[in-house]
């Protein structure tokens, strides 16, 4: 199988890296070769975070060559826009409808790009946009929006539902397993 390239983007603290780890583990458990890179130098301090996950028969480069990402999971709208140049023509984007103002711009809300979803559609990407934070809140915690989004993305990837669930169970704190599985399923249903 040709390598599948998934770019996960977000803001420090959103669970971007955990989402990448879960996806990479699922790919490994499905029998694929995997490479998963985390760029998190200053992530903890509200910076932009990306995670490159590549899987297939044999994966060489740890980074997705620019213009070759097949899928994007964007935890935040501006971060979806920022990394469009990494995407293949017509690539599929799962986007969280959430705006986090960059530090220093809190008082200049007009600096934040408007109508991002429309912009992305105009550039002819396939986009599934949803308020994952709301779904996550309904499941019990806004922190698990990353799992909701993975649920949406999971419908598009060649990884079995059981594998996703098994991996999620081992990746999240034991007390939150039920909540996370529910979030994952709700994500799948919106897809």
């Amino acid at each position: 199988m040709q390598t599948i390239n998934v770019l996960i983007t977000g803001v420090g603290g959103q669970g971007t890296i955990l989402a990448g780890r879960i996806l990479a583990k699922c790919a490994l458990e499905s029998g694929f070769d995997v490479k998963s890179n985390e760029l998190h130098g200053m992530a903890q301090r509200g910076g932009s975070v990306t995670c490159h996950v590549r899987f297939g028969d044999k994966v060489f480069s740890p980074m997705i060559p620019s213009g070759e990402a097949d899928f994007m999971l964007a935890m935040e709208e501006l971060e979806a826009l920022r990394y469009l140049s990494h995407m293949k023509k017509g690539a599929s984007i799962v986007m969280n409808k959430r705006n986090i103002m960059p530090a220093g711009l809190e008082n200049k809300t007009d600096a934040y790009p408007q109508e991002i979803q429309k912009k992305i559609e105009e550039l002819r990407f396939k986009i599934s946009a949803l308020d994952a934070q709301k779904i996550a809140r309904d499941c019990g915690s806004i922190k698990i929006e990353n799992i909701v989004l993975l649920g949406v993305l999971s419908k598009q990837l060649p990884i079995k539902e059981e594998i996703w669930k098994e991996v999620i169970k081992t990746a999240v704190p034991p007390k939150t397993i039920e909540m996370n599985l529910q979030a994952f399923e709700k994500g799948r249903l919106t897809a």
Partner: protein
């Protein structure tokens, strides 16, 4: 049955490799991208794994451990090796008894570093062998090979990681854990004492070891050549980038240094064109140029001379790079001091006190150089703030301040402080004490009173340390009270009575949340 594969980052694989190799002692000082090596060991290795106060101490402690016949490893980021350069250079002469491996993680692109230096040149300078893995499995395998080689040649062996290797997870097959070496501490003065009567002989022995190292390391460098007319020489991680084009291009994979130059000579002969792909300096490119007229790379400008080479360099060169839809002029999302961080309040006070120049240092608080704070005027290397301030003030310029974090102060600030006191520098030293090494993920320090393994130990008291260094004026404040802090800094800046230390103490907000 196929062996079970685990996903491991390069750093985890390095640590796991050391455990499998029969490690007895691991040391480090936190620094991105190498930090997680020691963190993995502190958690998963039963033996000694510790944070030293700096890389020089970490290096020397590991050397000492190897003198007992046991296996030891020190890990650090690239600039850490500058700090450890003194023991590093001479330990190559003196060698070790048990295997001794030096892991250095470079940061091409300077994602979180003050420079882009290439550790391969340092290895060549010291005449020690260096492995350069391309993925996590190799990182683990090479660490084990490095320990064996180090024991065979009785010299340190290095492994170079990179940000993209250290922080990329890929499948690893775990192996058996070898037993520790037996304790065998013995005196060996003609070998272990670097005095003039020994060193020239020891240097000769080091030079003589090179031929053997090249021969033993040859298996790690391989050629993938069929009938291709062009070739790529790819070092370490760049092997992955080259293999994306292996149908059209022959590939020489370099994973071990030093290598015999005939390897390169044989590979390039008969090829129409050769591209050299390596992260860092054009080390191998320079060699290839001796044997082929059409070598493309960083010297000739086809590959960017600076910054990270990455997967796109080749695509760009082959004009195969796909340009996606780019949306320009987006607001940046720079890293910032966290909400509630004490550093921000201290910087407000410092700015209000109007120092003429503020020498900065390395840590979270370096972010204070950015708008809107713009409170720092320089940042050079670990511990340099106090010394730089002393140099400026020594020219008679008044109101000179410097800012240093608590972990950085322990790392390299203490000698600078003593020197400033001794030489009667008129400076105000602000020690930003958040009680942890916050930038790299809250590793403890001697001031925290907890070891890497979480064992509680007596704390070093910062104010006592400053007083013992000869500072007569040591004041502790909570920076949250900006007005009081401003008044105090103003008062101290106005004095011309030597070194004044202000300790701005407020635990890191992130560690308080934990």
């Amino acid at each position: 049955m196929a062996q079970k594969k685990e996903l491991m980052t390069g750093n985890e694989a390095i640590a796991r490799g050391a455990i499998e190799a029969g490690l007895s002692y691991a040391t480090s000082y936190p620094g991105t991208p190498a930090t997680e090596i020691l963190e993995y060991l502190a958690k998963n290795f039963k033996g000694r794994a510790e944070w030293s106060v700096n890389e020089k101490v970490a290096y020397e402690t590991a050397v000492g451990a190897s003198y007992t016949g046991r296996r030891a490893m020190v890990s650090m980021k690239h600039v850490g090796l500058n700090v450890a350069a003194d023991p590093f250079m001479t330990s190559a002469y003196l060698g070790n008894k048990g295997g001794f491996v030096v892991v250095v993680a470079d940061d091409p692109g300077a994602y979180s570093s003050q420079n882009e230096q290439d550790t391969r040149i340092f290895a060549r300078f010291a005449k020690v062998a260096l492995f350069e893995p391309s993925d996590s499995q190799e990182a683990k395998d090479f660490i084990i090979a490095a320990f064996d080689l180090s024991e065979k040649y009785k010299m340190p062996v290095m492994l170079r990681s990179l940000t993209k290797l250290s922080h990329t997870a890929s499948p690893v097959i775990e192996g058996e854990v070898r037993e520790e070496n037996k304790l065998a501490l013995q005196k060996d003065p003609s070998q272990l004492i670097a005095v003039p009567s020994n060193v020239v002989r020891l240097h000769k022995e080091l030079v003589e070891k090179q031929t053997g190292l090249m021969a033993d390391g040859a298996v790690y460098n391989s050629i993938f050549k069929d009938k291709q007319k062009k070739g790529i020489i790819a070092c370490g991680i760049a092997y992955n980038y080259a293999m994306e084009y292996a149908d059209e291009y022959a590939v020489l994979k370099i994973s071990f240094y030093p290598f015999s130059e005939s390897l390169v000579k044989d590979f390039v002969s008969g090829l129409e064109e050769v591209i050299v792909l390596e992260e860092g300096e054009p080390v191998v490119e320079e060699i290839a140029r001796k044997f082929h007229g059409k070598v493309k790379g960083k010297i000739t400008g086809e590959i960017n001379r600076v910054g990270e080479t990455g997967p796109d360099a080749l695509a760009k060169y082959f004009k195969k790079q796909v340009k996606g839809a780019e949306v320009k002029d987006l607001p940046r999302r720079p890293p910032v001091l966290c909400p509630g961080c004490g550093h921000r309040e201290l910087y407000k006070a410092l700015k209000a006190a109007k120092p003429v120049f503020t020498a900065g240092d390395i840590g979270c608080y370096t972010l204070g150089c950015n708008p809107p704070l713009e409170a720092l005027d320089s940042c050079l290397c670990m511990g340099a703030s106090i010394s730089k301030a002393a140099g400026i003030a020594g020219q008679g310029i008044k109101r000179i301040a410097c800012v240093i974090g608590d972990s950085t102060f322990m790392h390299m600030g203490i000698p600078a402080l003593i020197s400033a006191v001794y030489n009667r520098a008129n400076i105000t030293v602000l020690i930003l004490d958040n009680s942890s090494t916050a930038m790299t993920g809250h590793q403890p320090t001697p001031l925290t009173g907890v070891t890497a393994k979480g064992v509680e130990v007596p704390r070093v008291i910062l104010e006592d340390l400053c007083k013992a260094s000869g500072v007569t004026s040591v004041t502790v404040i909570d920076p949250i009270n900006v007005e009081a802090a401003t008044a105090l800094i103003e008062e101290k800046l106005g004095k011309e009575n030597g070194v004044n230390v202000i300790i701005a103490r407020r635990p890191c907000v992130l560690s308080r949340k934990r």
